[in-house]
């Protein structure tokens, strides 16, 4: 047997002995980005389909959670930068070849849309008369007028320009929804492409990562909506959507591993880390079994009228999505070309 022993005299911090430039914040950012993409996509999708009156949690609450996720994700990304004071350099240029640049710009576009979306539903979500905190009412009084006699529509914006803008948005939500749906898909795919664009990292360098991360993001979004909603119909709908998404995800992963097994030497070497090697247990237990298979079985059982608390499959799917990204970022940096 031919063997090779490689000894390198290099000891650069975070590069040797194994690459560890991206630690927890990048996978967290990818996870939150995917989750936000999922939530925003469903909000937009239900609106485009004209079902925004039925899927109240999706269109009203989902985008608020998505916004929080994006903000936390961006903070994680910023924390990861080693030269953070220069982050504005991201916005001095658009580099179509660089996935990081794509991501920075997509987030830049999606955040204002997300804000407009939340703004357009604010009146439905927050009846001011229920607000017990006096100081919030006082602050709010700067921009809104209250009318306690009409409980169903108890406040309005003070300035006409805001009222007109709101009217304009609410009149036809579809254009906003279309823009949001497209950007959400770009965001979801981007979380995968950020990794797959690196030909230096054999684990990441596959086109399937884009669709796979998108599917995973959509399924974590659906899982969270399933947990958040109190409406039975909405919950069952997302449970069904999740079953479909999990099956697609399992298919993609199988397809991906098969492709690698039939690939060149480096790909066979790469996939061996997941089929017997270092990452086998972590990956199979957390992602395949806990994160996909068990929730899939539970959700099918629920459809068959077994009593399953929705939080269990929901949290498992979210856990699977989170673990998947951590394992991918970690393993991707460990597995490298040998020469």
């Amino acid at each position: 047997m031919k063997e090779e022993l490689i000894i390198s005299g290099r000891m650069n911090p975070h590069i040797d002995p194994v690459m560890n430039i991206w630690h927890w914040s990048i996978p967290l950012y990818l996870f939150l980005g995917g989750l936000a993409a999922g939530l925003l996509f469903f909000a937009a999708y239900q609106t485009i389909m004209g079902k925004d009156k039925k899927f109240l949690t999706s269109v009203r609450i989902g985008p608020i959670v998505a916004f929080g996720a994006i903000v936390i994700g961006l903070m994680a990304l910023l924390y990861d930068l080693h030269h953070p004071l220069y982050f504005w350099q991201l916005y001095t240029t658009i580099r179509l070849d660089s996935p990081m640049s794509w991501g920075a710009w997509t987030l830049m576009l999606i955040m204002p849309l997300n804000m407009i979306w939340i703004f357009s539903y604010l009146k439905d979500i927050y009846p001011v008369h229920k607000c017990k905190l006096g100081f919030i009412r006082k602050i709010a009084a700067w921009i809104i007028t209250t009318n306690d006699t009409k409980p169903e529509q108890d406040w309005d914006w003070k300035h006409k320009i805001i009222r007109d803008f709101e009217k304009y948005i609410v009149k036809d939500r579809k254009p906003l929804a279309w823009a949001m749906a497209i950007l959400a898909i770009v965001l979801g795919v981007y979380t995968g492409i950020l990794l797959s664009a690196f030909n230096a990292r054999p684990l990441w360098n596959t086109a399937i990562l884009g669709p796979l991360f998108l599917t995973s993001g959509l399924s974590t979004g659906a899982a969270l909506l399933m947990i958040m909603t109190k409406d039975h119909f909405e919950r069952i709908s997302y449970s069904k959507i999740d079953i479909l998404l999990v099956i697609i995800e399992l298919f993609f992963i199988t397809h991906w591993f098969m492709g690698y097994q039939a690939g060149s030497e480096i790909k066979v070497h790469t996939v061996s880390y997941f089929l017997g090697g270092e990452f086998t247990v972590t990956f199979w237990v957390n992602v395949i079994i806990l994160g996909l298979t068990i929730p899939l079985i539970l959700e099918v059982m629920e459809l068959m009228k077994f009593k399953i608390p929705v939080i269990v499959p929901g949290l498992l799917i979210i856990w699977g999505g989170l673990a998947f990204r951590f394992i991918m970022v970690d393993a991707g940096q460990v597995i490298r070309y040998l020469y």
Partner: protein, 177 residues
């Protein structure tokens, strides 16, 4: 113009003079290095084959590090030399992940640093520091577009290999084997 380097693995003894020369010349922070020595032993005893190489950024022709940089801090200058502008670098690490040779590192000040082929020396007509100190003169530097340069002449007659050609970056450091 296309700067390149040829390194003779038959002459290199792994003394690390090139590493120290670079650290001194370029004021590299302690504990870091832009070039390094790799030793590989291949085969089964007694049929062993030892190779010693001085490695650094390959100043690739097809540069994934430049492609994935979101700000343009990583760029290619005249002669195909790949450089980083510290004032434009946000330290995102994309270029580090993109390099199959792990030839870059994050400078303690936050920006990404790497081999520059000592372009400040080349501009004065000198060889890069590593090339100029090598006690076995195993390194050849020059312009590949000039058929009379040292590097063109030696790569024309000797058998050469590049590292991890399958990563597809068209490296411009040629190892004479």
């Amino acid at each position: 113009m296309r700067y390149a380097m040829a390194i003779d693995t038959k002459k290199c003894v792994g003394c690390s003079d090139c590493v120290v020369a670079c650290q001194t010349e370029n004021n590299i922070p302690i504990g870091y290095s832009r070039d390094w020595i790799t030793e590989t032993v291949e085969g089964t005893y007694p049929g062993l084959h030892l190779q010693i190489r001085s490695e650094r950024c390959n100043h690739c022709e097809d540069t994934p590090c430049v492609r994935t940089c979101p700000t343009g801090a990583s760029h290619v200058i005249e002669g195909g030399i790949v450089k980083v502008t510290p004032e434009e670098c946000i330290g995102c690490g994309s270029c580090i992940e993109a390099c199959p040779y792990d030839a870059r590192y994050v400078h303690p000040e936050g920006w990404v640093d790497k081999c520059t082929f000592c372009d400040h020396r080349i501009n004065n007509g000198q060889d890069p520091a590593c090339v100029s100190v090598c006690p076995t003169t195993c390194m050849y530097f020059g312009d590949l577009d000039d058929p009379n340069s040292e590097v063109s002449r030696i790569t024309a007659v000797r058998r050469i290999k590049v590292l991890a050609a399958e990563a597809g970056t068209k490296p411009q450091i040629f190892y004479l084997v």
